[in-house]
Structures are given as structure tokens and as C-alpha cells.
Point group: C2
Chain length 156, copies 2
């Protein structure tokens, strides 16, 4: 508890997505502030996007509220309404169950960062807006499937 | 959902504390970002402290995780370990049930702001570290009492 020493936080890379989506996250990394600070009820990460980077595949959560504040640089937020530019201090919210996928792109020439908070629900379903993928709960763990429930290809 | 128009958020003042504590919050105001954005699972506020302002009486939550990021100026965080200065980008966490009260003071000559996120638990108990006050749940509502359970003085 108390102040979080961000200088000691490892910068995580990689993605749990099946290919070809995992490779599309190769200009994204993140710092796990909430875990470092002992929080369990919601996740708190700083997402770092290099120029050309993407935060995630565009998605929405069935059960988990999500909140974002830009802390460095500029990102483009994409939703069903299109693109909107967001700078330092700009915030966005994504209430659980609202069927409008979002993600963030760094179309600038400088690194961008944003704080992202998301509830940790016991059971979660995630829908991806633009690709044939979803996350369903199987025995308490999130599993990627096609939208018809069939398995995703195994990692190569 | 989506981007939150902070220019339209009312700046809230006042406090639900009994006196004399409510008056001690007179240099604090706040913007309710999460409510404006339709979030219900956790609260997201920006707390604004004028010079000399105090965020709250020093307290800890039994059931709710809390997270803070300084977004403007400088604040002093006070816990059982003493005082620590925090500037823009500095973060702190307060996991539910950790018996170490915290609050934030603005000892500078400029306005300071921080983002604060807290889970919304169905039932909550709050302990105040330095004064004879707590919050207990009565039929789903938080009620201020003395630490022995006796009522607080009525508002004058």
C-alpha cells in the first residue's frame, strides 16, 4: 500500500491473443500498477503505445466497467462513432454491457501513454467488434473462441 | 460511454461529514467523472485541492480498494509512515482492509488535483485514523458513528 515505485515496475510486452492478433500488439507494452500496489478488485495499468501501436483489438466487456485517462502524448480512440483524438488529461468510460467496441491507436510520432482501470469480474465475456473472436468463461478462466463458439487456431 | 466532456462537469463542494470535520473540507472540491461516464462498479473522481486543502479525514476502507494518481501540482500524502510528497504522475494504492489510514494535503501555493478510483462495495465500513468517527452500514446506507457505535452529534 502507499506510493507505488514506478521505477521498479517491469515493462510487460506480449499478448494472450491468438495469431494473427497477438503480433498486432507488438508496439504495445504496459506497467501493472494495481498489481504492484496490492489491488485486486480492479486492474490498474499504464499502457504504453509506440508510434503505430494499438492498445487491443476493438472490444467491449459484458461485465466489467472500464475507464481510461491519457497521461502522455496523443491517442486516437476508435468506437462505433468513429475516431476521436485524445490528449493528456482526456478521459473515456466504457460501462459494462454497452455494445460499442473501443480501442486506442497511436497515430503520432511520439510515445503515448494512458492509465486504464477495469473491474475484475468473477466471470467475463468479451466481444471483439471487427474480427471473429470473443472471450468466454470456461471454469473460471477466459478462453478465446470464434463467435460461434468454435475453437481458435492453436498457436503456431 | 466514450470520451467524457470534462468542461460540462459541475465542480462539487461540501462534505457529508458531521462537524467539525465537514468545515475542514472547505478547500476541497471534486469532479465526478465516473458517474458522468455511466460507470457504476467503481467511482472515478478528480479531487481539487486549493492551497491549504485536505482531501478527507485520514481513513481506511474495510471492503473497497482505492487508487490515486496526481494529475496537477503537488500533494503531501499522510499515512502511518508519515508524510511523502507526490507530484504529477505519482500513484498510490490502498487495498481494502489494510489498517493504515491515508489522506492528501495541499501544502503548496498552487492548486493540486488527483484522480481517485474506489470500488463501490455493497456494504462498507470506514475507519478514521485520527478522530473518533467511523462509517458503518445501516440498511445499505453508510452512517457516521463514534467508534463505540454511539451517534455523532446532529448537524447544528
Amino acid at each position: 500500500m502507499g506510493k507505488i515505485d514506478q521505477s521498479k515496475l517491469p515493462r510487460k510486452t506480449g499478448s494472450g491473443y491468438p495469431e494473427p492478433y497477438a503480433s498486432m500488439m507488438n508496439k504495445r507494452s504496459y506497467l501493472q500498477l494495481g498489481d504492484a500496489g496490492g489491488l485486486t478488485q480492479f486492474g490498474v495499468n499504464i499502457t504504453v503505445l509506440e508510434p503505430g501501436g494499438m492498445s487491443s483489438m476493438r472490444h467491449w466487456h459484458m461485465n466489467e466497467d472500464e475507464f481510461v485517462m491519457v497521461t502522455e502524448g496523443e491517442v486516437v480512440m476508435v468506437t462505433d462513432e468513429g475516431e476521436i483524438l485524445m490528449g493528456v488529461g482526456d478521459c473515456a468510460s466504457f460501462p459494462a454491457g454497452v455494445e460499442n467496441g473501443h480501442h486506442f491507436l497511436n497515430k503520432s510520432y511520439a510515445e503515448a501513454r494512458f492509465l486504464v482501470i477495469g473491474t475484475r469480474a468473477a466471470l467475463e465475456t468479451v466481444y471483439y467488434s471487427d474480427v471473429d473472436m470473443m472471450v468466454v468463461d470456461v471454469d473460471g478462466a477466459g478462453v478465446f473462441t470464434r463467435k460461434n463458439g468454435s475453437p481458435m487456431p492453436e498457436p503456431e
